[in-house]
Amino acid sequence: MRVTEGMIYNSTNQALASTLSKMSSMTEKVSSTKELNRPSDNPADVRSAVQLRDVLAELDQFGRNIDAASGRVDAMDNAMASVGDLIQRANELAISGANSSLSASDRQAMAQEVSQLIESVAQDAGAKFEGDYIFSGFKVGTPPYTVTGPGAVSAYQGDHGVVIARIGQASSMQVSVAGDTVFQPALDALSQLQSDLQSGNLVQPGTITALQGALDNLLASRSQVGARANRLDQSKTSLASLTTSNQALLSQLEDADMPSVITELSKRQTTYQATLAVTAKVMQTSLIDYLR
């Protein structure tokens, strides 16, 4: 085959250009540390990466939702624990109030304390989380109970709205408890106790049973809330491992395999330098150099 200078220039240029373009794409991968820098780099992987990024963003959001729900559930638990103590105290008062050795005035003094207890329960029921009443259903701007007089509270002012926390894809959880289901039996039993004591008579056995019932009801609600707190904790743990595995998947798709990219880059560099060296040798000389 006839070889002309033009051919040597052409092929040299092509070889250098193709090596340089490969080197520049390697350099891009090294500097961005990404395997995928534009949709055409690997369309199928880019497609998966775009979807995975949305999944990860959503998982991150679920994490925030779980944190908020946990805060809310903790606040509910605290309020209920405090009310539990109040009922315990009422129970003690009721038992001593059922003792015939007390005078009527003693009982009336105790009634004063029960009034305080009723007001405390109403206050605890008015617990807030991030500025919202948590035991009022959807009526978060309205306290579930307001104190209307000494030892007297209003009827339940909230509703039965169910607050749902989204804690995973297709996984949501109720994080609200309506105030009346938790506190109404306690308030009813306490006001019964108050009127018993106020009358100066012995505390009725029915009142003690009612207090016991109210405590049981509260404990049932607390254990329900506790179960939710547990589930939130579990969700948080499984969310963390889901996030880790998805991040690993995304990294596998997106991130450049640095050792292999750098090895490849230095291979190309060697090729590039070899091309330059050979070209310099071939192009330097011509017959003209030897003709006098």
Binding site: M1, R2, V3, T4, E5, G6, M7, N10, S11, Q14, R38, P39, S40, D41, N42, P43, V46, R47, S48, A49, V50, Q51, R53, D54, A57, E58, D60, Q61, R64, N65, A68, A69, E130, G131, D132, S136, F138, K139, V140, G141, D159, H160, G161, V162, V163, I164, A165, R166, Q169, A170, S176, V177, A178, D180, T181, L253, S286, L287, I288, L291
Partner: protein
């Protein structure tokens, strides 16, 4: 007997020939780097010998050589190779043009990254979840309006960028048509010059080279068919019609379509459809690929906006009013005109995330909108009917239509009817299914599953209050509240993330295909270029060898003349002097 001066003439012809050879070598060396130049060769032939066969020929032995003649100066060219170069250059031009436009589109969708539309979309859905988790938070509401505006702005920007690419292609179409016209005029001019040289019997080598160079440039824009005429001129045909015939060039023009797009046509208005080449790549990309990207961006914007609006309009805002549309757009250019309702931006209390009035802690509608992220279709009450109260199916607080887990339902309006505990759902197209509704236990959610219709409705009760099946059926079939609509976000049904990543994938696939094809085509063209360079290219070594050879020939010819001169000196001046 030949004349003693005969040898001088032979020497002179050799001198002339050697000089011509050296001149041509010089011309080759001079044009070694001229694009399209073919090396030239001097065709030498021995001059007609003496004597001619005739009765009056001399009695000498014959024939006697009379020197050398320069027959012609020709160029070394492979016409078949030219044809291949033209065809393959055309294909390369086609892929290159396409690849260039696709790389511009890719720049608009810089995925995977946080700065692309995908990231904005994720943040938008997340913002709804934040409101669902804390509907009373002003910060969350403001953040949502910000994210909604960011989404609209991003989609606007992408639409504008795609529009700029379209404008750019139209400008290129004009340029290419102008290029074709310019090249055609130049080829026609060369045809005239070539014709004039050819009729004299000479070879217009350099003019032919120039014409082939122009043809190669032309075929990169539009594929041509070339017919060579006996007088050396060529006819260039585009799709069977003469672009150049003899010294005449026909003009192309552009026609502006109804949408402002430019189409190439013949200047007389006749349709012109290039079968391949860069011009076709540009118009095809504009009319097929770019149009599809633009319409998909529109679909993406509309799917998200419509679904968000449908659910949002059925919510109740913090002031107790029915929700307004969150997004506005013009149907003719959805992506370009997508905007957020400024009243809501100004007052985020107007975000209607509750399902009934006086429920500030209710973010269930925000939750439903957030659920659109992984939904392929959605269901909502009929506008104007359940406007206030949204999904609230009852007058009390006992049951709420919470969410829709529907999969395959086609877009249409559905109506509830029935009595007792039997509930019938009938679609606009006559599809119907009757199910038996069980009593709702208190504190649980319940799903009404119309499996044959592809719809399942999730109801939730408020805590502590159950609802009998018959009451539920009465609620659901109450006139004026007994319709729901189903719609798909996209066609075919898919999630927003799937739709967007599908669009990005499509752009990426087209881009990588164009890159690969362009690179392959480049290899083919390179190989052909090398073969042309091998055949027609100037080799400086070869020319140097030739120069040495021709120089020697020249020197030898001069020496012949000197020898002849000495011979004549002997004859004329030194002959017959014996005894003088």
């Amino acid at each position: 007997m030949s004349s003693p001066f005969f040898g001088l003439d032979i020497g002179a012809s050799a001198l002339r020939a050697a000089q011509q050879l050296l001149d041509t070598a010089a011309h080759n060396v001079a044009n070694a780097n001229t694009p399209g130049y073919s090396r030239q060769r001097v065709n030498l032939v021995a001059a007609p010998p003496y004597t001619y066969p005739a009765f009056n020929r001399s009695g000498l032995p014959g024939q006697i050589g009379t020197g050398v003649n320069v027959m012609a100066i020709t160029r070394i060219r492979d016409n078949f190779l030219d044809l291949q170069v033209q065809t393959q250059t055309g294909l390369q031009g086609q892929w290159d043009a396409r690849q260039q436009e696709l790389s511009k589109v890719e720049a608009i969708f810089p995925e995977p990254s946080d700065s692309g539309l995908g990231g904005t979309l994720s943040k938008y859905w997340n913002a709804w979840q934040d409101i669902a988790a804390d509907p009373t938070s002003t910060a969350a509401r403001s953040a949502l309006t910000e994210q909604a505006q960011a989404l609209a702005t991003d989609i606007n920007r992408d639409a504008t960028q795609l529009g700029i690419i379209r404008t750019g292609i139209n400008a290129q179409v004009t340029d290419k048509v102008q290029t074709i016209n310019d090249l055609a005029t130049q080829i026609a001019t060369l045809n005239g010059q070539i014709q004039r040289v050819s009729v004299t019997g000479d070879n217009p080598n350099d003019l032919l080279d120039q014409r082939e160079q122009l043809l190669e440039q032309l075929s990169a824009v539009v594929p041509t068919q070339v017919l060579t005429r006996a007088d050396g001129t060529i006819s260039v045909l585009l799709g069977g019609t003469d672009l150049v015939n003899n010294v005449y060039a026909r003009k192309l023009d552009t026609q502006t379509g109804p949408t402002g797009d430019l189409t190439p046509v013949w200047a007389d208005g006749t349709a012109f459809t290039p079968p391949s080449g860069a011009l076709k790549a540009l118009t095809d990309f504009r009319d097929v690929d770019l149009a599809s990207y633009q319409s998909q961006l529109d679909s993406l914007a509309q799917g998200i906006a419509d679904a968000t609006n449908a659910l949002h309009e059925r919510g109740v805002d913090q002031l107790g009013n029915a929700g307004q549309a969150l997004f506005t757009y013009q149907a003719s250019a959805v992506a370009g005109t997508l905007a957020v309702n400024q009243a809501i931006v100004a007052d985020p209390r107007l975000l209607a995330v509750a399902s009934s009035p006086n429920s500030p802690g209710d973010g269930s509608v925000a939750g439903l909108i957030a659920d659109l992220r992984n939904a392929t279709s959605y269901t909502a009450g009929t506008a104007g009917v359940n406007a206030v109260g949204g999904m609230d199916l009852t007058t009390g607080t006992t049951a709420r239509l919470m969410t829709i887990a529907s999969g395959s339902a086609t877009a249409q309006t559905w109506t509830f009817s029935g009595s007792g505990n039997s509930l019938t759902l009938t679609g606009a197209n006559g599809q119907t299914q009757t199910i038996t509704v069980p009593d709702m236990a208190s504190g649980t959610t319940q799903t009404l599953n119309f499996d044959q219709l592809g719809i399942s409705l999730k109801l939730s009760t408020a805590i502590g209050v159950g609802k009998a099946a018959t009451d539920l059926v009465t609620d659901l079939t109450t006139a004026g509240q007994n319709t729901i609509v189903t719609a798909s976000l996209f066609t075919p049904p898919q999630t927003a993330s799937d739709f967007y990543s599908g669009l990005v994938g499509k752009i990426g696939t087209a881009g990588s295909q164009a890159q690969e094809m362009g690179a392959n085509q480049q290899l083919v063209v390179n190989q052909l270029t090398q073969r042309v360079a091998s055949t027609s290219g100037v080799s400086l070594d070869e020319e140097a060898t030739d120069m040495v050879r021709f120089q020697h020939a020249y020197q030898a010819a001069a020496r012949v003349i000197t020898t002849m001169d000495q011979m004549l000196e002997t004859l004329i001046n030194n002959t017959g002097l014996v005894g003088r």
